[in-house]
Symmetry: C2
Subunit: 466 residues, 2 copies
C-alpha cells in the first residue's frame, strides 16, 4: 500500500505548524519507502526538514531509495561536515553517484574529510567509464576465506552487516583475493554449523569483468536469477558486486533509451553520455523546462526536413509524368505511409531483438533473409489489395488501369525494401560504432521513399508511355 492519506495529512499539518517533535514521532513509525514517497512531493525546504527529522539509520535507508538528484537537492544545502558523515556510511556505489552531482570544489572539500581508504575507494569506483560494469558496481560486499566454518562465516556476516550492501551472499577468496567460490546466506543458515566453507561453497559461479558492458551484466544477473553478481578484474580478483536493483535500473534505462532513440529523442552521442551521464530522462521530457525536449527532438526533425525535401526532389524530377497523369499524385501517401510503417516495425523488432539477445550479429544475413521473406509476402498481399483499389479509383473502364498496376508493384517492392532497410541500416550504424538505434529511422524513411516513389513514377511513365 502506498502511504495512507490520513497519515499524509497529519504529516503535512505537523510540517506547516512547525511541530518538529510530532513530525519526528510520526516519521519514526514510517517505512523508508513511505518516507521517500512523502519527501518526493515536498518543496526543497520541507524535503530538508523532513530528512533532518529522521533518525540516522532511517536517513541512510531513505537515501538508498531516493535518486541522486533528490539527494543532491536535500544535501547541497547542508554543511560539509554533515554531508561527509552521511557519505561515509552510504552504499559505495550510491555515494559515488551523489558526489558526482556536487560542483568540483565542494566535492573536493567533502573528499578531504574522508578517511584515506574511503577516498581511494571512491576514486576507484569513479574511474570506470559510464556504461561499464565497474560504473554500476559497489565495493561494500562481504568476503570470507575457505577454511572457516559456516558458523564462523555467519558470525562474520552478522558483524559486518551494518556496513555491507548485501549480506545475502558471501564471496570466498584466496590469499591473492581471487574469487574461488560463493556462498549464500541461505546456504549458511541451513548448513551444518561445523561444515567448512570450502565444502559448502559453489566453486562454479557466474561472474563478470569490470570492463564489460553494464547492460550485459544486468542481463546475466537477470537470466541467472541472482540477487547480486560478483565483478572481477582481469586477474580474477573480486573488485565489486552488482546488485539486482542496480541491474533492474540498467535494464529499464536501456529500454527507455532504445525507445526514445528510435523516436529521435536523443541528441547526444555516446561520447557525450560518457562525459556527463545525460541519459534521456522521461520525467524531464514531461516536466520542467520545455527547452530540454525541444533540444533533444530538433536534430531528428532537421534530418526529417532534409529527407522530405530530398524525396520531394524525386517528384520534381517526374514533374512531366505527373503533368500527364495527374491522378498519380493521389497514391503518393499510400506508398509513403506503407513503407514508413513497415520500416518502423522492422527496426523495432531489430532493436528489441538486439537488446534481448535474440539477434546474433554473427549471422545477420540469416536474420535479414528471414525478415525480407516476411516483407515479400506482406508486400505481395498489400500490393494486390492496394493495386485493386487504385485500379478502381478512377472508375472503370474509362480510367487509367495502368495506375493500379504501378501502385500494386510499387507497394509490393517498397514493403520488402523497407524490411531490408529496417534491419540493415541499424546494423550498419552499429558496425560503424554508433549506438544502433538513434537516427536510423529518418534515413530509413528517406531511402524507402526515394526508392518507392522513384519506382512508382518510373512505372507510371513506362506503363502509360509518357
Amino acid at each position: 500500500m502506498t502511504l495512507d492519506n490520513s497519515l499524509k495529512t497529519q504529516l503535512m499539518n505537523a510540517l506547516k505548524a512547525g511541530e518538529t517533535s510530532l513530525l519526528v514521532r510520526l516519521l519514526a513509525e514510517l517505512s523508508p519507502a513511505h518516507v521517500a514517497e512523502f519527501i518526493l512531493e515536498l518543496e526543497t525546504q520541507n524535503k530538508v526538514r523532513v530528512f533532518k527529522s529522521l533518525e540516522n539509520d532511517a536517513q541512510l535507508q531513505v537515501l538508498r531509495i531516493l535518486d541522486e538528484d533528490i539527494e543532491y537537492e536535500i544535501l547541497s544545502t547542508q554543511p560539509v561536515s554533515y554531508i561527509y558523515a552521511l557519505v561515509e556510511k552510504m552504499p559505495h556505489d550510491k555515494r559515488v553517484d551523489l558526489l558526482k552531482s556536487f560542483p568540483e570544489n565542494k566535492r573536493k572539500e567533502i573528499m578531504k574529510e574522508l578517511a584515506q581508504t574511503e577516498r581511494e575507494d571512491i576514486l576507484k569506483l569513479s574511474s570506470y567509464s559510464e556504461g561499464t560494469t565497474g560504473a554500476i558496481m559497489t565495493t561494500d560486499y562481504a568476503v570470507i576465506t575457505a577454511e572457516i566454518t559456516a558458523e564462523q562465516a555467519l558470525e562474520q556476516l552478522r558483524l559486518e552487516a551494518p556496513e555491507k550492501e548485501t549480506i545475502y551472499y558471501a564471496y570466498v577468496i584466496d590469499a591473492q583475493r581471487r574469487l574461488i567460490g560463493t556462498v549464500s546466506l541461505r546456504q549458511l543458515i541451513t548448513a551444518d554449523k561445523q561444515l567448512k566453507i570450502s565444502e559448502l561453497m559453489s566453486a562454479d559461479f557466474v561472474s563478470v569483468f569490470a570492463d564489460e558492458p553494464a547492460e550485459k551484466t544486468a542481463r546475466m544477473l537477470k537470466e541467472a536469477d541472482l540477487l547480486a553478481i560478483p565483478v572481477l578484474d582481469r586477474k580474477s580478483r573480486i573488485t565489486g558486486i552488482v546488485t539486482f536493483d542496480d541491474a533492474m535500473q540498467v535494464i529499464e534505462e536501456e529500454t527507455s533509451e532504445t525507445m526514445f532513440q528510435k523516436a529521435g529523442i536523443a541528441g547526444r552521442s555516446d561520447r557525450d553520455k560518457e562525459r556527463e551521464k545525460d541519459l534521456v530522462n522521461s520525467s524531464k521530457l514531461l516536466k520542467g523546462s520545455i527547452w530540454y525536449p525541444i533540444r533533444l527532438r530538433m536534430m531528428f526533425l532537421f534530418v526529417t526536413l532534409a529527407g522530405g525535401f530530398l524525396v520531394g526532389g524525386v517528384i520534381d524530377y517526374f514533374e512531366d509524368v505527373l503533368e500527364a497523369v495527374l491522378v498519380a499524385a493521389v497514391f503518393i501517401p499510400v506508398l509513403m505511409d506503407m513503407g514508413g510503417n513497415v520500416g518502423t516495425q522492422s527496426s523495432t523488432i531489430f532493436a528489441r531483438g538486439l537488446a534481448l539477445g535474440h539477434i546474433d550479429t554473427s549471422r545477420i544475413f540469416g536474420h535479414i533473409g528471414r525478415e525480407v521473406s516476411i516483407g515479400a509476402i506482406m508486400g505481395l498481399a498489400l500490393g494486390l489489395i492496394g493495386g485493386i483499389v487504385a485500379w478502381y479509383w478512377q472508375g472503370m473502364p474509362n480510367g487509367i488501369p495502368e495506375i493500379g498496376l504501378a501502385v500494386g508493384i510499387g507497394l509490393a517492392v517498397v514493403v520488402p525494401v523497407a524490411t531490408l532497410l529496417g534491419f540493415l541500416l541499424p546494423y550498419i550504424l552499429l558496425k560503424l560504432g554508433f549506438d544502433h538505434a538513434p537516427g536510423a529511422d529518418p534515413f530509413i524513411t528517406t531511402i524507402k521513399d526515394f526508392t518507392g516513389l522513384g519506382l512508382y513514377f518510373y512505372l507510371v511513365a513506362t506503363l502509360i508511355g509518357v
Copy 2:
C-alpha cells in the same frame, strides 16, 4: 563469466559418446545458471538427458531459471509420476505457469497425484486473471508470529528454508492471518537473540492487493528497493508475495509490449491476452514460423493502407489546384514526414511517461498544453526553415513564392497538431478501455496528414488564387 568453452566441449563429447557417468560428474560441478545456459543450446532429446543427469536439488534450481516453454519441452516427455514429484517441490508460482503449459487431460492427471493442500494452492493461484498481482505472486513465503524471539524466528526460517521461495523476509501475522509487520533476515541476524519480533518488526511496510495490476506492483517493488513485496487480500490477510525477479520480468515484458504495440506488432486485444497469455514474443518474431510475425503485423498495415488511400482522397479533391500549380506535389513528402515523425515522438513520450508513472492522467490537459507549446515552438522553427527552402525551390524571382508561404504555414500547423494527436489519441484509447499503445500511430498518421495536406492545398489555392 558464461560457461567455459573447453568445459562445454567436454560436456558435448560426453553427451555424444553416451558417457552418462562422466556427464553426471561434470554437471555436478556446474552452477545452475551454467547448466541452464548449456541446456538452452541443445536439441530436445539432449535437453532431457542433461536434465535427468542432474541431482534432484540441481534439477529444481535449474527449473527456477528456465522459462516455462523449455520446462515443458523437457518434462512433457516424462511420465506423470516423474513430473508430479518435481512439481510438488517447485516454487508455487513457477509450477502454476508450468502446469498451464500442459494439455488439460495431462494437467488433470498430474493434479490428481498432488496432495489436497497443494492442489488447492494451485487452483487459488490459477484463479487470478492475467495482468493482476495475484497472477505473478507465489505462496511459498515464510510467516511468523509477533510473540516469538529473534532466535526462534531464525530457527524457524532455517527449518523452512528448503521449501520457501525466499527466507530473506519473514512476514509477521496475527491470529486472523492479517499482516502486521515484516522482518528481514538481515535484521534477524543482527538483532539481540532474545528480542521479541513485536519489537523488532517494521509495522509500517509497503504492500499491495492481489487484484491490483501486476505492473503497478512491480514498479512499487522497484521504487522501494525491496527483494519481495507482500500481497494482501481485501481483508488485509497475507495471500502471497511477489519477488524481485518476477517484478523485473513484468517490467521488461511491459516495456517490450509498449514498444511492439507502438510499431503495430500486436494483433490481439486485452481480452485475448487474458485468455491465452499471448504476449508478443521477441524471440518468436525472430525465429520459427514466419506466419506469426506476419499475422501480428498485417492488421496495422491494413489500417495504414486504408489511411493512405484516405489521405490520397485529399489530394484527389484538390486535383484542380494541383493541375494549376503542379510543383505543389513536390512538398507533399516533407509535410507528411514531418507530421509523422513529430507524432511518433509525442506518442513515444506519452507511452513511456505513462509506463514510468510520469504522466498523471487526472491532469492530462496540463500535459497536453505543455506538449502543444513545445509543438508550436518547433513548428515555428521548422516552418520558417521549410518555408524558406520551398520559397527558393523554384528559383527566384520567376517562381511561385506563395508556395513557400503555404509550405511554411503548413509545417507550422502540422507540427503542433501532431504533438496534440500524439498525446490525445493514446489518451482517448486508454479512456475507452483499450491498452493505450496499439493502433494509435496509424490513426495519428492519417489525421495529421488529412489536416496537414488539406490545409496546405487550401493555402496554395487561396494564396495563388486558383
